[in-house]
Symmetry: C2
Subunit: 248 residues, 2 copies
Amino acid sequence: MVSARRTSVWLEGKSPRARKAEQPSGLDREKITEAAVRLLDTEGLARFSMRKLAAGLNVTAMSVYWYVDTKDDLLELALDRVVGELPIPDPASGADWRDRLRELAASYRALFVAHPWASSLVGHFLNIGPRSMEFGRTAQQVIADTGLPLHLQSAALSSVFQFVYGFGTVEGQFRQRCEEAGMSQDEYFRHAMGAFRDQPAYGEDYERAERIMAARGGDTVEEMRDRDFRFALEVQIAGIEAMVARGA
Amino acid sequence: MVSARRTSVWLEGKSPRARKAEQPSGLDREKITEAAVRLLDTEGLARFSMRKLAAGLNVTAMSVYWYVDTKDDLLELALDRVVGELPIPDPASGADWRDRLRELAASYRALFVAHPWASSLVGHFLNIGPRSMEFGRTAQQVIADTGLPLHLQSAALSSVFQFVYGFGTVEGQFRQRCEEAGMSQDEYFRHAMGAFRDQPAYGEDYERAERIMAARGGDTVEEMRDRDFRFALEVQIAGIEAMVARGA
DNA sequence: GCGTTCACTTGTACGGTGTACGAGACCTAG
DNA sequence: CTAGGTCTCGTACACCGTACAAGTGAACGC
């Protein structure tokens, strides 16, 4: 018989814990999760620690463990919480699926930019927290309205949202790098390109990169990225439309 | 003046280190990187440590630091190495860009399945190692052959490869989870679905999931995933074709 | 031959990490 | 008043990345 292995915080047998009265520390899962998100935002995933979190709550590290089984569980809670912050387009708005998809994709992208640590976590967990589920439900509904047959919808969903995930991840990590280096995105970009140019082995690649940069135009890194994102999203939409038109 | 911050192992001023003769331990960057990849494959990123790596090489942890500045640098080297293992379609084969794109995407997906730890790393580094560059060059060439204007090519590249990255990441992490739990993918899937069904709050979602599963058909999780991947990739291709046809 | 220098290897140590464990402190029920 | 549950805390363990300094042994100039 297969042992019942842990799958997710969200699939525990019991609800968090029955509370009898206000505890002296005033702690609860909600407050801990909120503090965790704050700390993750300021320190990043690598420097996030249970001890620092506890200190911020004026409590010892082990107190936190009363409300949460492991650090991973807490991270799972934190992830679901930030997903819950996303604005979600009203499914009953009657708007075209394309517009709702653009809105949802923009939200999702913004998530990884605002919380770069979230990128590293989505891959690790099952993402079945209540807010993640709601987001998934909405996304599913948008794809359902494209007219694709049911059995192809999950693939189309993958196509779009995995792209947004990847794009947002790279973007978020880049921004974090810039911040840590104390440079603006454009400064950091020039810095990296400079170091790149100075590597003799990469001469050809550097020139190609320059040529592409020139063609893309755009004054700032951010502007170019925005354009790329919008265009890539239109590629996704056009692809789905083409598949619908092909009738499969 | 902006301090010259670290950007990547690949942008160091000097080549690794001049070697005079065969060292008693027989160590070098190559061997260390290879051992690192092996250890990452067997232990996963979370359980990878410099001490374990050194032990596997019959050497103390600090010896490794003679060849490599930090753990992160080593991880960057390991990542580039596995990228180098990917089969790359011959750019001069004259094959249609669609076929070359399918081949390249399949390779990239396989990377994250074979080395789930690589997923967590691609986001963290600049990915400008020689093998990553070669892969990028090839991908760039494929996109160039679609007929898209130069200034839209990087966006199209994003669209496809960020999707593959996201897809491969989720797939790789899932497989790793299954292995750690000692279950087959189908067993684990049923296990998770079961736990899911038992959560009263998720009744509606569970039923929707079941409905979609039924529609997708397919005997195994793997089969369904393969179909999803192929279809999503065709969505990408159709999208690019549509954009080319639109003349922008 | 001999001292120096360089290329490495090693041992020790520091300041962190996640978290198991057990001893309390307080509140409530009986 | 006692018993038990809920929560907090201090201590401790095993492990981590890596700084630092003291070796070791071979190559080289003299």
